[in-house]
């Protein structure tokens, strides 16, 4: 079904994001600006991000809250229009398409949200929620066929078909997230954007949901854009990782390389926050300082006020992503110059 919609270009990445920017105008109202002589203020939520996601892969975006990772997710889902840059889905730049033109591509992408209590319409029965994409894309028209398909989808995520008759409030957080996943699968997408899908759940339930998502990926050949701040979760899920800081990627590469040999000081700082039995007794660098105001980011490297390796160059000149040994790319002057990390002797 729907094979005709698919584009010939299936060899390339399913999603390629290049030079992606999204600015929000957070200026005060016009009258205030004129009276108080304030300039326009732009919040550069995403300020030049590039990455690719291959068929069947999971790309994880990690970073502290406010770094712009959710904005990237919303941009990829077509919820916002980018201020600059391209979002190529199956080889077509979806950022330039109108709502109607985008409709054949929407079928192939879906989204899972963070808050399982807000992501399901409380007044709708589960079968209507799960069936919504089927009806919206006109995949099935017969009511009985839709009912059969929603029952099948519910079973696929580990719920019973009878649950379709219930309302969302009759389910637990983990079960609601399963319903959310069933809805995402309804249009048979190839690519699913997961915006912190487990951060609102208990740890035990988190593992169940993550395993469900991995199983579905294997069975259906799905690609995931996985947004998370939880590195333990990311380690479990991701093939490739992008570390975001203040709207830019500061390190990007295969998950193994980043977890075993993190190059950017920020990545190391984040990795040090993962509890690990083997690390007991070792000195850690705690995540120090706070994320600066993104309206007025620091000059040069945005991370320099918090960076233990920062030198004069970092304060003046913004580093670009550059390839390093191990297959990863990092945007750091100090790492490029070969400065090493010495947790036991903090640099002056």
């Amino acid at each position: 079904m729907g094979e005709a919609h698919r584009l010939p270009d299936l060899s390339g990445p399913i999603l390629r994001v290049s030079g992606l920017k999204r600015f929000f105008d957070v200026s005060r109202p016009l009258l205030n600006r004129l009276l108080e002589g304030q300039p326009r203020q732009l919040l550069k939520a995403v300020n030049g991000v590039d990455f690719e996601i291959g068929e069947g892969e999971t790309f994880a975006l990690v970073g502290e809250s406010g770094c712009g990772k959710s904005t990237v997710a919303n941009l990829a889902a077509g919820l916002y229009a980018p201020s600059a840059g391209k979002i190529e889905f199956e080889g077509v730049d979806i950022a330039t398409l109108s709502r109607r033109q985008m409709s054949p591509y929407r079928r192939h992408l879906a989204m899972i949200f963070q808050d399982p209590y807000a992501s399901l319409n409380p007044r709708w029965r589960v079968q209507r929620i799960v069936g919504e994409p089927i009806r919206a894309f006109g995949l099935l028209s017969d009511r009985r066929a839709i009912a059969r398909r929603t029952a099948e989808l519910l079973q696929q995520v580990g719920l019973s078909p009878a649950d379709g008759e219930k309302y969302p409030h009759e389910f637990s957080g983990g079960q609601r997230q399963r319903i959310s996943i069933a809805r995402a699968l309804a249009s048979q997408p190839r690519f699913i954007i997961c915006d912190e899908p487990t951060s609102a759940l208990d740890v035990s339930v988190q593992a169940q949901i993550l395993n469900l998502m991995k199983g579905l990926q294997r069975r259906l050949g799905l690609s995931y854009l996985f947004i998370s701040h939880d590195l333990a979760v990311v380690r479990h899920m991701a093939d490739h990782i992008g570390v975001m800081y203040l709207g830019r990627l500061c390190e990007k590469g295969p998950a193994d390389a980043i977890f075993s040999h993190p190059r950017h000081p920020y990545t190391r700082m984040l990795l040090d926050t993962i509890p690990d039995i083997e690390m007991t007794g070792r000195r850690r660098i705690p995540v120090s300082g706070e994320i600066p105001n993104p309206i007025d980011p620091p000059m040069g490297c945005a991370f320099h006020p918090r960076c233990p390796l920062a030198n004069q160059r970092c304060r003046r000149e913004r580093p670009e992503l550059a390839p390093l040994s191990g297959g990863a790319l990092a945007a750091c002057h100090a790492s490029l110059a070969g400065a090493s990390w010495q947790p036991d002797a903090p640099p002056e």
């Binding site: 989204m111 219930k166 637990s172 249009s187």
Partner: protein
């Protein structure tokens, strides 16, 4: 396949939606708070009695006050039946045209209720749609609608209704004005009251719009109009029902006020307000009943509806207080 997470799944859930609606209603918190508030029960009884009287007027009223042929001018100004000059035929006495007051009140509350009900519906339709659009679309449209709302709310509602009523009356040809009197009234009272709905609905829409289920619908590419109607509307209607009930009392009073001022329902098919105005001319000549009985009916109706509205506000949404 076994159900893996069972942490907080409600075990009683499957049984709940199979039991019938009445049982659920009897079990609900709302019904509990209703039963335990004697004032509310009394108000509900009074409201239901008046509504019943209004609806059943053609069958229970002793006389049809709109039928000029059945009126007898010789019976005009008859006091209530328990007074010395009373006539047992006219329980509450008659007015200046010999209309039986009890019948006139029954028929009058019919008009009052109808005008009130339809102007509330009209207000609700206008206010809710503008509020949802304003909150969902945002930007310039939102600013425009909300500025108009603020300008309108800075004038008393009765003044707006009076103004629109006056303008419409001059636009309508003389011959049709009597026929269209209730439509004109419904329109002007309705227009004067939409702001409250729009503001409330706009703020709830702002909350709902930010919720992820709306984003989920947008990711699928559902048309914005459909999102507003199918997703947002059902989730913002709770407070609207409460405002609607309280507004019903206000609308009835506004209708009565306009009719009292002589710009509402014409005396040929009097509403409660018109009856009070007619009676008012005779108050000082000792014929108190013509104005007092319709006034009592109006006051009890408005008070009862108001009390119901207050109770509903507290029971359904304590945050609105």
């Amino acid at each position: 396949m076994p159900r893996p997470d069972t942490e907080t799944a409600a075990p009683a859930a499957p049984a709940r939606h199979t039991t019938n609606f009445l049982h659920r209603l009897a079990d609900s918190d709302i019904f509990y708070s209703f039963r335990h508030s004697p004032v509310t029960v009394a108000a509900a009884i009074v409201t239901l009695l008046i509504i019943f009287g209004a609806v059943a007027a053609p069958w229970i009223a002793p006389q049809n006050p709109f039928d000029m042929a059945s009126l007898d001018l010789l019976d005009a100004h008859t006091p209530p039946s328990w007074e010395a000059d009373g006539n047992p035929k006219y329980l509450l006495g008659t007015d200046d045209q010999g209309r039986d007051l009890l019948s006139a009140i029954l028929y009058g509350s019919r008009i009052s209720l109808m005008v009130g009900f339809f102007s509330v519906l009209f207000s609700m339709a206008v206010g809710v749609s503008l509020g949802v659009v304003s909150g969902y679309v945002g930007g310039f449209v939102d600013a425009l609608i909300m500025r108009i709302a603020e300008i309108q709310i800075s004038f008393p509602a009765i003044l707006i209704a009076l103004l629109i009523d006056g303008v419409l009356r001059t636009l309508i040809p003389e011959a049709k004005s009597e026929q269209l009197a209730d439509t004109v009234l419904i329109f002007s009272i309705g227009i004067s009251g939409w702001v409250q709905y729009a503001r409330t609905v706009r703020s709830s829409t702002l909350v709902e719009r930010g919720r992820e289920y709306v984003q989920a619908a947008r990711v699928i590419g559902i048309h914005p109009l459909m999102i507003m109607v199918r997703h947002i509307l059902p989730n913002v209607m709770g407070p609207v029902l409460v405002i609607g009930t309280i507004h019903l009392a206000v609308a009835i009073i506004t209708e009565a006020t306009l009719s009292f001022l002589g710009v509402g329902i014409p005396p040929t098919q009097p509403s409660l307000g018109t009856l009070i105005r007619i009676g008012n001319d005779y108050l000082f000549s000792g014929e108190w009943w013509i104005t007092i009985f319709p006034s009592i009916a109006l006051a009890s109706l408005v008070l009862a509806v108001n009390l119901l509205g207050d109770w509903m506000r507290d029971a359904l949404n304590p945050k609105l207080r």
